[in-house]
C-alpha cells in the first residue's frame, strides 16, 4: 500500500501531530449518553457474559471489571467461564436462555457468526445478544446481521494513531512492516485506519504481513527478520496487536536493526508496557480494562432498561511511551496509569449514591 498522490508534503507533519496530541494526555471521562438511575431500572435484572476465553487475561480482567460495576449498581452478572472452545460458548448460550436472563454479552471475540442457532434461540426467548468489544464503530451493520447489537470500539482510530505515530517518527518517510492477524473484525477496522492515514503522506508505505494467532510463536520472528534484511530501507514496524511484539523485538535484535527500526503497537498489554519501559517498543496505545468494563455495562444497561442506545461507548485510548510507561507500575499492571476519571464519571452517570 502506498501513499496516494496529492497527499501532504512529507515534511509537513502537523496533520499527524494534531491527530496524536489528544491521546498523549490522561483520558477524560466523556458521557456516552444521558444520565439514568441504573440501580432502579436494573433491579431484578441479570446479564450473562461469555468471554472469548477465560484464559485470556485481557477478557478475564474486563469480566472482573464488569462484575464489579454490576455489583456497584446492584444486579446479577454472571461470567460463563470457558477455554475458548466454541462448544463451550454454545453451552453458555443455552444455559443463559434456560435461565431467562435479560441480556447475553459476547465479549471480545466470542463470535456470533458461529452461534447462529443459539442467537436465534435467544431471540425467540426475547433475550438480546450483544457482541461487545469485538468490532469497529463502522462495522456495526455487519455485526447486527448476526447479533442484536454491539458495543463497538474505535479500532480504525487505533490503527490511524499507529500510522500517525510512525509517520511522525520517520519524519514523513515511513517504510513500515504492518503486522496483522486476519480473522477478527477488529483487524479489518485497524487496517482501514492505517490506510486512511497513508493517504495523507506522499512518501509513506507499508508492507502487510499476516500471521495466524497459533503461528505467532514460530513464524513472526523468522519472517520479520527476513523482511528486514530483504529491504534495508524499512524504518518502522506497526504491530496491530501488541502481544505480537515479543516475537518482533528478537527479530530486530538478531538483525542488528535497533537503530533504524522502531516498533509501535496497540492494546496496552502490561508486558508490552514493560518493553516500552525498556525501549524495545517505542509506543503502545492502551485501553484501560476497568474503564472498558464500565463502558460495556453502561451500554448494556441502557438496552436492558429500554433507554436510547449509544453508538459509541466512548472508551478512550492513551498513548504510552518511555516517558509515561512507568505510571503503569514496575512491573506494569493491568488498568494502571490511565487515571481514574471514569470512576466518578460513571457513578454520576448512573446516579449511584
Amino acid at each position: 500500500m502506498c501513499g496516494l498522490a496529492g497527499a501532504a508534503r512529507a515534511d509537513d507533519l502537523s496533520y499527524f501531530e494534531k491527530q496524536i496530541e489528544p491521546f498523549t494526555k490522561k483520558p477524560e471521562f466523556v458521557a456516552p449518553g444521558p444520565a439514568f438511575d441504573a440501580a432502579e431500572c436494573m433491579k431484578g435484572k441479570s446479564i450473562v457474559s461469555i468471554p472469548v476465553s477465560s484464559a485470556n487475561p485481557f477478557t478475564a480482567n474486563i469480566e472482573k471489571a464488569m462484575q464489579a460495576a454490576a455489583k456497584k449498581v446492584g444486579f446479577k452478572f454472571t461470567t460463563w467461564e470457558n477455554q475458548g472452545q466454541s462448544s463451550q460458548w454454545v453451552q453458555g448460550m443455552n444455559a443463559a436462555v434456560n435461565q431467562k436472563v435479560d441480556l447475553i454479552d459476547l465479549l471480545a471475540g466470542t463470535d456470533p457468526r458461529v452461534l447462529v442457532p443459539q442467537v436465534q434461540a435467544a431471540q425467540a426467548a426475547k433475550i438480546p445478544v450483544i457482541a461487545s468489544h469485538y468490532n469497529g464503530v463502522e462495522q456495526s451493520a455487519e455485526v447486527k446481521k448476526y447479533a442484536d447489537g454491539d458495543v463497538p470500539i474505535d479500532y480504525a482510530k487505533a490503527g490511524a494513531l499507529l500510522a500517525d505515530w510512525a509517520i511522525v517518527q520517520t519524519k514523513g518517510h515511513m517504510n513500515a512492516l504492518e503486522l496483522i492477524a486476519t480473522g477478527p473484525l477488529s483487524t479489518d477496522s485497524m487496517m482501514s485506519g492505517i490506510d486512511a492515514e497513508l493517504k495523507h503522506c506522499s512518501d509513506c508505505k507499508t508492507k502487510v504481513m499476516n500471521f495466524a494467532v497459533p503461528d505467532w510463536g514460530t513464524r513472526i520472528t523468522p519472517a520479520v527478520q527476513a523482511a528486514l534484511l530483504a529491504d534495508p530501507t524499512i524504518n518502522y514496524i506497526i504491530v496491530i496487536y501488541d502481544s505480537m511484539s515479543q516475537f518482533v523485538t528478537p527479530a530486530v535484535t538478531i538483525t542488528g536493526s535497533q537503530d533504524r527500526v522502531k516498533v509501535d503497537a496497540f492494546n496496552g498489554t502490561p508486558f508490552v508496557l514493560g518493553l516500552v519501559q525498556q525501549g524495545a517498543v517505542q509506543m503502545d496505545i492502551g485501553e484501560n480494562l476497568d474503564w472498558i468494563g464500565h463502558a460495556l455495562i453502561d451500554s448494556e444497561m441502557r438496552r436492558v432498561c429500554g433507554l436510547p442506545l449509544v453508538s459509541d461507548p466512548k472508551i478512550p485510548f492513551y498513548i504510552f511511551t518511555k516517558d509515561n510507561a512507568k505510571d503503569a507500575g514496575t512491573p506494569p499492571q493491568l488498568s494502571q496509569g490511565y487515571g481514574d476519571a471514569y470512576v466518578k464519571g460513571y457513578a454520576d452517570l448512573w446516579k449511584l449514591k
Binding site: 485470556n56 519472517a223 527478520q225 502481544s243 528478537p250 538483525t255 498489554t269 518493553l275 512491573p331
Partner: protein, 334 residues
C-alpha cells in the same frame, strides 16, 4: 513404532548405482538446500547472498533445533514425547516468574527450570514403564496438565523483564556475527550425535527402539533406557525453554506450544538425510535450517505467509516420499 530400517535397497541395480543411490539419499536434502540457496541467491543476490542474512538464519532457529534434538532421543527408543513443547513453555515461564516476579538470580532460575524438565521427564518415563501405558497417551496427558499449570503460575500473563545477562548470552552476544544460541544448539547436536553413535548407551537406545522385546530378551534393561530417554528429552525441552526466554526477553504461557509440530516435522524430515532411515541429530539440524532457508527466501521474494505454510508442509511430504521411493517403499510403522 518400528523405525524404517536402513537396510540395503532391494532394487535391480549395479553396485555403483547402489552406492550412488545411497549417497543421493544421504546428502539429498543438503544438495536441495544448497540448490535452494543458489536459486534464491540468483533471484535476490544483493540481499539473500549476504552474511547478515545467513547469520540471521543460523542465529534464529536454535530453540527449534534443541526441541527437535530432545524429541529424537525418545523417538530413537520408539517413544513419543508430546509433552516437550509444554515443558519448554513451562521452563521459560519458570525462568520469568522466578527472575522477574520473585527477583531470584537468573542462574538459580535456570537451574530450577532445568530441574523441572528433568522431573517431568522422570514422571513421563515412570508412568510409561511402570503402568505400561503408551508414551503417546502419557505425554499427551502430562503435556496438557503442564499447559494448565503454566497458565496458572503465570496468571495467563506474558512476563517481560528477564535479566539482560540471559538475553545477552543468547541472542545479543555473537561469534562471527552469529548469536551464541546457534553454537549452543550445534554443541547439543554434537553431544546427541556422540551419544547415539559412539556410546554403548546409544546403541542400546537404538536396539530398544528397533525391537523392544528382542532387546529385553537380550538382557537390556529396556525400562531404564526408556526412562533415561524421556528424562533427557525433558532436560532438552527445559533447555529450549531457557533459550526461548533469552531470545524474547519474556515468557508467555501459550506460544511455545506451537513448536511441537515443527519439531516433529524436522525430526522426520531429518530422518531422510545424513543417516537415512534413522532419527539423527545432524539430519534434524539440517532439516531445521533447510526449512527456515526456504521460508526466508520466500519472504525475500515477497510471498504471503500461506505460501510459507505450504512450503513447510509440502517439503516434509515430498522429502519423505522421495526417500521412500529411493528405498523401495518399505512400510513405515509409526
Amino acid at each position: 513404532m518400528a523405525q524404517p530400517a536402513s537396510i540395503e535397497v532391494p532394487v535391480k541395480a549395479s553396485g555403483a548405482s547402489r552406492v550412488f543411490i545411497k549417497r543421493a539419499e544421504q546428502f539429498g536434502l543438503i544438495v536441495v538446500w544448497l540448490a535452494m540457496i543458489a536459486v534464491f541467491g540468483y533471484l535476490q543476490p544483493a540481499t539473500f547472498l549476504t552474511w547478515p542474512n545467513f547469520s540471521t538464519i543460523f542465529g534464529s532457529q536454535a530453540v527449534l533445533v534443541v526441541v527437535t534434538l530432545g524429541l529424537l532421543i525418545p523417538l530413537t527408543a520408539n517413544d513419543f514425547d508430546l509433552s516437550i513443547a509444554f515443558v519448554m513453555t513451562l521452563s521459560s515461564m519458570t525462568v520469568a516468574v522466578l527472575n522477574v516476579n520473585y527477583g531470584i538470580g537468573i542462574g538459580w532460575a535456570i537451574v530450577a527450570a532445568l530441574a523441572l524438565g528433568l522431573l517431568v521427564g522422570l514422571i513421563n518415563g515412570l508412568l510409561i514403564t511402570v503402568f505400561r501405558i503408551h508414551s503417546l497417551i502419557v505425554t499427551l496427558g502430562t503435556g496438557t496438565f503442564l499447559h494448565g499449570f503454566t497458565l496458572w503460575m503465570s496468571d495467563s500473563m506474558t512476563i517481560s523483564g528477564i535479566s539482560s545477562s540471559l538475553i545477552n548470552a543468547v541472542i545479543v552476544d555473537r561469534l562471527f556475527g552469529i548469536p551464541l544460541e546457534f553454537y549452543y544448539a550445534i554443541g547439543l547436536a554434537a553431544i546427541v550425535w556422540y551419544l547415539l553413535d559412539y556410546t554403548a548407551l546409544g546403541r542400546r537406545i537404538l536396539f530398544v527402539g528397533r525391537g523392544r522385546e528382542v532387546a529385553r530378551l537380550s538382557g537390556i534393561n529396556t525400562d531404564r533406557i526408556r526412562i533415561a530417554c524421556l528424562v533427557v528429552s525433558g532436560l532438552f525441552g527445559a533447555l529450549a525453554g531457557v533459550l526461548y526466554a533469552g531470545t524474547q526477553g519474556a515468557a508467555d504461557p501459550v506460544s511455545g506450544t506451537s513448536y511441537q509440530l515443527p519439531a516433529f516435522a524436522a525430526a522426520f524430515l531429518g530422518s531422510t538425510s545424513i543417516v537415512p532411515g534413522r532419527f539423527n541429530p545432524w539430519g534434524a539440524t539440517v532439516a531445521v535450517y533447510f526449512l527456515v532457508t526456504g521460508i526466508t527466501g520466500l519472504v525475500f521474494l515477497g510471498f504471503s505467509s500461506f505460501i510459507q505454510e505450504m512450503f513447510y508442509g509440502g517439503a516434509l511430504v515430498v522429502a519423505v516420499t522421495l526417500s521412500q521411493l529411493v528405498r523401495g517403499r518399505q512400510e513405515q510403522q509409526f
